[in-house]
């Protein structure tokens, strides 16, 4: 995007493409859906709270309806019985959509190597950004949102575009 200024400093006209204009609007109006099932959810609350204030990055409005959200933030342990619920929520979200997998449990099952825990949500859905940690700091969530914004801004392929992984 290029902005040409007049000599008195007032913007005269803007040159851009439609794609980058839409991407510019999208990246600053991410509506997250938080799917918090464990201690990672507490860190999510911290990230949205006043101290870390995730709304500085444009991901302010948390939507608890998947129809109105475009970032799925999976924070916590997902077991086999919960997996179909999470998959249905993902399916209900409208395109384009992105997925953040937060914490060791959502990324890989964490230390729950047992009969009941799904060994990573990427077994059932594409994941764009992984946040390591047990649980991660709120800075990690902010970094993940910024990385989602980078994906939108650069038009990089989403994880959903290469799903399912062969």
């Amino acid at each position: 995007m290029a902005v040409r200024h007049e000599k008195d400093g007032a913007p005269g006209h803007v040159l851009t493409t439609l794609e980058s204009l839409i991407a510019w609007g999208r990246k600053y109006s991410l509506y997250p859906f938080t799917f918090a099932t464990a201690c990672c959810g507490i860190e999510v609350m911290g990230a949205f709270g006043t101290h870390y204030d995730l709304s500085r990055f444009g991901a302010e409005v948390v939507r608890f309806s998947p129809r109105q959200a475009d970032v799925l933030l999976v924070a916590g342990t997902i077991n086999y019985k919960m997996a179909p619920v999470l998959k249905r929520i993902y399916d209900q979200m409208l395109e384009p959509k992105w997925v953040i997998s937060m914490g060791a449990c959502a990324c890989s099952g964490g230390f729950y190597n047992n009969y009941t825990v799904l060994q990573g949500i990427d077994k059932i859905m594409p994941v764009d950004v992984y946040i390591p940690g047990c649980p991660p700091n709120p800075e990690g969530i902010i970094d993940a949102v910024v990385r989602i914004q980078k994906i939108i801004e650069t038009g990089a392929p989403r994880a959903a575009d290469r799903w399912p992984i062969k």
């Binding site: 086999y80 179909p84 399916d91 047992n114 009969y115 009941t116 060994q119 077994k123």
Partner: protein, 158 residues
């Protein structure tokens, strides 16, 4: 000696295998054939009145014979007494009569024991898994359940 175990032995001399009161916990190992009669007696006898089935669980003694054990923990709100009833079950026939007619609240405990250990409660009104889902394979608290076994992921129901 304990009044509870004495009454139980007097009433069912052939079915009580052994008893002990270690650490003050009255415990009786009984045969499975008349388990419903024994439990109903414990509930109804005016000296005992075990009206509260606090817990039912299974135990897997892998390598022993009989392999499985069902444990009932009973409490009498009237007499303020506790008793533990144990029944051993063979691996090739892990079946015992249901105690739901005696205490309706024991329904979910029996479902849990079926889910986790594969113990069948004959006559149970709704014997299906309670914690795991229907597509789950195996019984996870059995000692020979493979630790790294992965379960089928099920999709959303249509």
């Amino acid at each position: 000696m304990s009044i509870v175990l004495d009454r139980l032995r007097d009433r069912f001399p052939a079915d009580v295998v052994s008893t002990h009161s270690n650490f003050g916990d009255d415990t009786a190992l009984v045969r499975r054939e008349r388990i419903v009669e024994i439990l109903a007696f414990l509930r109804d006898d005016p000296e005992l009145l075990f009206d509260f089935a606090m817990d039912l669980t299974g135990v897997d003694y892998l390598g022993e014979e009989p392999r499985f054990e069902v444990v009932y923990h009973l409490y009498s709100l009237e007499k303020k007494r506790r008793v533990r009833i144990k029944v051993r079950l063979h691996e090739d026939d892990p079946v015992i009569d249901t105690a739901v007619p005696v205490w309706p609240g024991i329904n979910w405990y029996e479902r849990e024991a079926w889910d986790m250990y594969g113990i069948v409660f004959r006559g149970h009104p709704n014997l299906k898994r309670i914690l795991m889902y229907e597509a789950f394979e195996g019984h996870p608290l059995r000692k020979d359940y493979p630790k790294a076994k992965r379960q089928p992921t099920i999709g959303p129901e249509e």
